[in-house]
Symmetry: C2
Subunit: 514 residues, 2 copies
């Protein structure tokens, strides 16, 4: 079909601009000399302007109109339908959001970043509040422009859809309520166990060079293809994919933390293997991407937590790690090590939290940002609400806003609706992993032999290959036979922490029933 | 003026695409994993297509038409006139060359590269000849499309202008004849001196890591700004500038050659400091570039040869180098070292040649490619003519075409008219350096103290700052007070080699007059 060929050519060029934009961003973090920032900003602005102009061009509009006609659309195969759906979504979005709104948002977030840095430094929420209010208003305008179900929905739905397509507040409220119900008691139980595994041997000082080598070896074992990717150092860990053939990971290393870089490398390699596993036929289309941020995060969290913080994994890798760091790990058993890397304690800071506490940090942010977007909560009241929720969920209260409401960069970036995808990723990861344990022969025994490829192959076939051809909900249904549920993740956490801490789910529940 | 502002905006965006293209190319050589090549080729093709479309757009055409009107043009200041001139040149060129010709050239050179590699590997010129003929024809068509003085000029003029603006065959013939007259006897005199400085200590094996550190220290001393640039390893040394704030050099290192990487780093840093020294006000315009390839090359050759292979430089740096490589340089005097790095001998291969012999390699190529483009020489006859000239200029004949006519990559790239810029660079470099010696107080004494900055500052002020605002001829005239002449370079070479070899210019001339 001619229209389809033409559309593929047009989106191919737009995609080339987008992936080039990706390289500009990667290079900025990894290589760019400091005086390069002015010209880099111009390059990125120009590429983004041209890509936007190409997307909203009459060429794309006319082709889409034809391809979206019912008879034509129905005659397409699944992949082409998905292509029309996704290009259509991008086109509609680009058309719906006024250029002036995009510009206002860019200006506001450029200012917000600096103000956020200052506010954080001086523990002065008041300095950040006015620009945050502006960003909230712009997000509300964005939601109105994009549209949502005025009768039963929330403006937050429109924002959520940018990161987790088709998920609604209604669904998320149920998922997160089920989570919270069991997470708060878990965190409490751990706290009240008054047991703290020793982790001092992780902090004795470990050569950056050796940490790097170990991480590289592990992600190679995972199946990350170094002929189609790289690992580099950068101030923040991230993954940038330009297509299955060129996927770049970054990590940062700390002398006084033996394994933090390993876990962040495994995390990013999880993202990277998703990108490398995309069907090459999807290349240069918007389908060559993760189904959603949540599904993407499920891959990184699975490798980081379900594999990387598991007993089977360390059965094989702990003796290896001991070869790298014999002095630091002298007299440490694999069980000691396992407990040390699975310590849990209420913390003020999200990025320093653990598998048990992490998701309460997200729930807190979700509740707050949803209320803010819906106009039920004022920006000026954020510190108070934040601190109250910290007390309710963790039993601790930040002493300063710097270690409270000011800790995350996301809102200064203009991102509302992003946070939930982290916890969605955790939930997806367990639901997928449970299925993998059923379908991959002897999965955990394989992991315990350092054989990580069977899991990678299963993920390639079940999740990576389809890219964005299916929606998140379709993928979860196809792979696990049911929709996303909170219970699997909660069960996983209780089960895991019951072997690290002297706690029991039922015992606790009955105990608290007394 | 409105038109000028609009033109600046348009060319700014085109320039952003061009510099991004530069990053894509740099990354390809330095970072890209091998499986990234397909998507990289697409990205580069798309960016180049969009930049071309923007350049030949009616927007640019209309603005130029207005700005080129005599009254308007005359009202502009020097920089704006240069902007209109250079954008006009790019626009005219883009309009004059048919898209079909560009495509044919791209296809031919893509094929030619592979055939050249094969032909070279198998010493089989016949394998390369047909595609080379095609490339010659396309270059002839290109020359016709671009236009040249049909009465007194050559089609080669049109090609030369792509690399060395406004220089003609007529001028070049005079310059090169003057050069040859003195170079052939120099090479002969060196050969007949039957003296060969010992250079074995350069080949004893020297740690790559230490070579890297030494090179880095030297180019830092030169004044290359690492906050506005980088040095990386790549298969081929090159310099890529995205603007004064981001200039990237590459080098390659050989364990068995202590100083080859140093010289190539100094060479590329010479290019890089030109880019870093461009007036920031020229940024994002075609004026933010070297005046020509020849002028650019004058900067790299000056640092590599006139500084890097000079006695003053090593007076300071030889003791430093000895600290890096005490074993290899044990018992070696600075004079021994100086002679070793200035050995000259006729060689078959251009890139292995030295300051004395290098330019005869270029003259040979110039004579051949000019005759080929003018239709006076057939591609099939190239090996014969090549070998004859090698015999005439060096007294040696290649045993195979691989070490003869097939040695360079340039023709397979489609580049005819490029080679002369290397020798122009050498000539410019000496004429500029002679002037610097007059204007910079105690220049050579400063170099001998390791104080390289005064030369850098002089080059910044005299040559770098203006970018492409002036033509090469204007720059040479302004800086040196006269047009480019061959005699200074020839005098430099005779003088230098008379202190390395037992030869004398006059003695030889009077001897041969007998």
């Amino acid at each position: 079909m001619n229209e389809l060929t033409s559309l593929r050519e047009l989106v191919g060029e737009i995609r080339d601009l987008n992936t080039t934009q990706g390289l500009l961003g990667w290079d900025l973090e990894v290589n760019m000399p400091e005086k390069g920032s002015d010209i880099r900003a111009k390059q990125m602005a120009t590429l983004s302007k041209i890509a936007h102009e190409m997307m909203i061009s009459d060429n794309v509009g006319t082709l889409l109109q034809k391809l979206r006609e019912e008879a034509t659309y129905k005659s397409l195969d699944k992949v082409d339908q998905a292509l029309v759906r996704e290009v259509g979504k991008d086109y509609d979005r680009a058309k719906k959001i006024p250029v002036s709104l995009v510009q206002e948002m860019q200006e506001a977030t450029a200012k917000a970043h600096l103000l956020w840095v200052e506010a954080r430094k001086n523990n002065d929420f008041g300095r950040f509040a006015p620009i945050l209010e502006k960003i909230v208003q712009l997000n509300q305008q964005m939601a109105e422009a994009l549209g949502y179900d005025k009768a039963n929905g929330s403006p937050y739905d429109a924002l959520l859809d940018l990161y987790e397509p088709e998920l609604t507040v209604q669904q998320l409220d149920v998922l997160f309520a089920n989570l919270k119900k069991d997470l708060v008691p878990l965190v409490k139980a751990i706290q009240e166990s008054h047991y703290t595994p020793d982790a001092s041997f992780l902090r004795k000082g470990a050569s950056i060079e050796k940490q790097w080598q170990f991480s590289e070896a592990v992600i190679q074992d995972m199946g990350f293809d170094f002929n189609a990717g790289r690992l580099d150092k950068a101030p923040h860990p991230f993954c940038m994919g330009m297509g299955a053939g060129d996927v770049r990971l970054t990590t940062r290393l700390f002398e006084d933390d033996m394994v933090s870089s390993l876990f962040s490398s495994m995390h990013e390699a999880g993202h990277g293997m998703y990108e490398q596993g995309l069907d090459p036929a999807l290349q240069r289309t918007p389908l060559a991407d993760g189904a959603s941020l949540g599904i993407h995060e499920s891959q990184s969290r699975m490798w980081e937590n379900l594999v990387g913080r598991s007993r089977p994994f360390w059965t094989y890798y702990f003796p290896k790690l001991k070869e790298y760091f014999p002095q630091q790990l002298e007299g440490v058993s694999v069980e000691d090590f396992y407990k040390a890397i699975n310590r849990s304690q209420p913390s003020l800071i999200r990025v320093e939290s653990d598998e048990a506490t992490y998701n309460l940090h997200i729930l807190l942010r979700y509740e707050i940002e949803k209320d803010v977007i819906e106009g039920k909560l004022q920006v000026k009241d954020l510190p108070k609400v934040w601190n109250q929720k910290m007390q309710d969920y963790f039993g601790i209260t930040p002493k300063t806003d710097t270690e409270g409401v000011l800790q995350d960069i996301h809102w200064s970036h203009g991102s509302f609706g992003y946070f939930p995808t982290y916890t969605l990723g955790n939930m997806y990861s367990v639901q997928f992993f449970n299925r993998a344990k059923k379908e991959v022969p002897d999965l955990e025994a394989q992991l315990a032999k350092g054989n990580l490829k069977p899991l990678k192959d299963w993920l390639n076939a079940k999740i990576h290959k389809v890219g964005k051809v299916e929606t998140p909900a379709e993928i979860v249904q196809r792979v696990t036979g049911e929709p996303l549920k909170a219970q699997y993740f909660v069960e996983y956490l209780w089960e895991k922490y019951s072997t690290v801490y002297p706690i029991q789910r039922q015992a606790l529940q009955s105990a608290s029933a007394h």
